[in-house]
Symmetry: C2
Subunit: 372 residues, 2 copies
């Protein structure tokens, strides 16, 4: 028996998570395990009513779970950043989920915007660092900067350039700080190297060490050091700007890609698109020894809320990552196989050219697993 | 008569710039102006011999020019960042070239990696801020951080997470600071709005205001303010992760895109790829009232150096941007027309499916302009 925490969240979240649960329950029935779900009502609605995002008590409770199944958060009535930082990033950081795992895989029958590329060309995994970089949330407007050395440099620069006096012209500047650590970089790189060893033994590291020389200079240094323990894995570097080109031009080059947090955010959305769009892109936020969280990488799409039209496949796929994570490898694979069947048979939602409703999809896939 | 400074640089730089000059000289002959070229030998070779990147004296001299024609820099013998920061970024910053202008335009006959997209779908312009953001070059390793408040926060975070003591464990952390200013954001946005008014009157702003809330929160605030002066231009926001998807899926949505520096770096490489690759992607670094610089956005490709195989079209196109900038609009347009002719007639280098050498291309296009 597995205990899983469930956070459907906002917008289409509850509808898609409901389908995912049908599928995971069916997988349990087929492969001989039970999932006990515990629901948590977090999201915009509660925030708007009570001002609460996620509480310290809830985080403590959640630490008893090995896995969280997450829908999506976001609401037009809330300023950008509040829910994302207060809930999603708060969970990633609190549980030190340092690996953000994103398979980029074009399933047969899915159309990609790339010309002349098929499932044999698009099949790699991005391992995104998930706790450092520009996601640490340190920054401010200028007036907070008075006492700081770096801002002395900034002050001179802006005084010359614009005649801005940061003492009196508060609100004229903003700054943001990113941090990378040797240990934080090494652990995620090791995860990526280990993963590469189970695949094609090829690892690409992403950075922008030619401009952000401090943080990504350290990243490169650690990569150079770490790769010595993995002589069987071939490695290369790509600047982040270049990698967006190769994802589109030569996705077949990639096997495992390891990337700092922010660049990972960007390139995995691009990856999602080449594998058929956000409707099909799952992510796992993993702490190998703690509480991990699985989610579709798309947002809450408020305008489709309650319309029973959202595509739940990314969420179902995230469920497969969850099963894989808890050790139910066979069940995890069966979920992907049945997702593929649903696509082959056209048992999909409108965005994928089908005519099914959101609530039909979970039933269809669950049945396929049970019959499989 | 126009005086233009010329910096061929490293690798294939000299070869491609030579072709660009043939074309610009021909355009001058056809449209009745002369260009006087002054060469500057900057780049890896000099750096390796003398340790000099670009000197204060050279910068002062260059300030007498309205335009610089730049090839490319970069050499495997030099650590990433040295030449980029010491030359290219140094020029952009010294001359306050706050607009990095990058047309994304698929010319007829060029193949794009996108399925079912043609020249009518891919035709927009990215206006990249070019002097702020994470390009300001402020950052350090941890030991430099002792006296700083932000590093107090970082120190606590890392002490809890990894037991790192930043006082004694110097070299364990690195940080990087990005800065955005109200004035710096506003001026580039105004440039983009003005440009949109000459085109389809549609402007998309790029940020990541939901995570890097400080810098990009300011960016959004300034955009909201600035757009009030342009009621005829329709506007929207895209998060940087999302925009990489739409560039690939729906490039026809875009007209003018305005973006902070680092995201601009990333999305313009992606843009370059959808318009046919780096062989065809030019950029202008513009200070509307000072010294501007025009360059292909690709690198120096050291392994093709001296082989007479490099594709000079991006450099020729950059020359067209230069002509446009100095007011020779007709000549600028003629250069693009003749680039198109060369593509239609297959008078292109091997990477584009032709059989011409680098040194043939400039002659071909120059002749086409003179006959045009
Ligand atoms: C919603 C946002 C905070 C998040 C991120 O930037 O990490 C999302 O884009 C993602 O990629 O999971
Ligand atoms: C070479 C590098 C410093 C530069 C940048 O990052 O701006 C390049 O990638 C570009 O886009 O012009």
């Amino acid at each position: 028996m597995y205990r899983v925490a469930c956070m459907p969240g906002d917008g289409i979240g509850p509808e898609i998570v409901a389908e995912g649960r049908k599928v995971l329950d069916a997988a349990g029935e087929k492969f001989g395990f039970d999932i006990e779900w515990t629901d948590y009502e977090i999201g915009a609605e509660r925030y708007l009513q009570t001002g609460e995002l996620i509480t310290e008590d809830e985080l403590k409770e959640l630490s008893k779970f090995k896995s969280i199944y997450f829908g999506s958060i976001g609401d037009d009535r809330v300023k950008p950043g509040i829910l994302e930082k207060g809930i999603l990033l708060a969970i990633r950081f609190y549980f030190d989920q340092y690996v953000n795992l994103r398979p980029i895989k074009l399933l047969p029958g899915v159309s990609t915007p790339l010309a002349n590329k098929g499932p044999e060309d698009i099949d790699f995994v991005v391992v995104r660092e998930n706790t450092e970089d520009f996601y640490v949330g340190i920054g401010a407007r200028a007036k907070a900067g008075k006492q700081r050395d770096e801002l002395e440099v900034i002050r001179n620069l802006y005084n010359v350039r614009f005649g801005i006096d940061v003492e009196t012209d508060a609100d004229e500047l903003a700054y943001q700080i990113g941090v990378l650590s040797r240990k934080g970089s090494e652990r995620v790189m090791r995860y990526a190297f280990d993963l590469a060893q189970t695949r094609e033994k090829k690892l690409t590291s992403v950075d922008k060490a030619n401009v952000l020389t401090d943080v990504y200079g350290l990243w490169r240094e650690v990569f150079e050091e770490t790769k010595k323990s993995y002589p069987d894995v071939s490695t290369e570097y790509n600047f982040v700007d270049a990698i967006t080109m190769w994802f589109v031009k030569n996705p077949e080059w990639f096997d495992v890609v390891v990337t700092p947090n922010m660049f990972g955010d960007i390139i995995t959305d691009l990856g999602a698109m080449i594998q058929g769009g956000l409707g099909l892109a799952p992510g796992g936020n993993i702490n190998p020894k703690g509480t991990s969280m699985f989610e579709p990488i798309h947002g809450s799409a408020p305008k489709y809320r309650g319309k029973n039209v959202a595509n739940p496949l990314a969420t179902v796929w995230a469920g497969s990552l969850l099963l894989d994570h808890i050790g139910e490898k066979e069940a995890a694979a069966a979920v992907i196989t049945s997702i593929s069947h649903s696509i082959e048979k056209g048992a999909v939602t409108k965005d994928m050219g089908g005519s099914m409703r959101t609530s039909d999809i979970g039933d269809w896939i669950a049945k396929d697993i049970l019959n499989g």
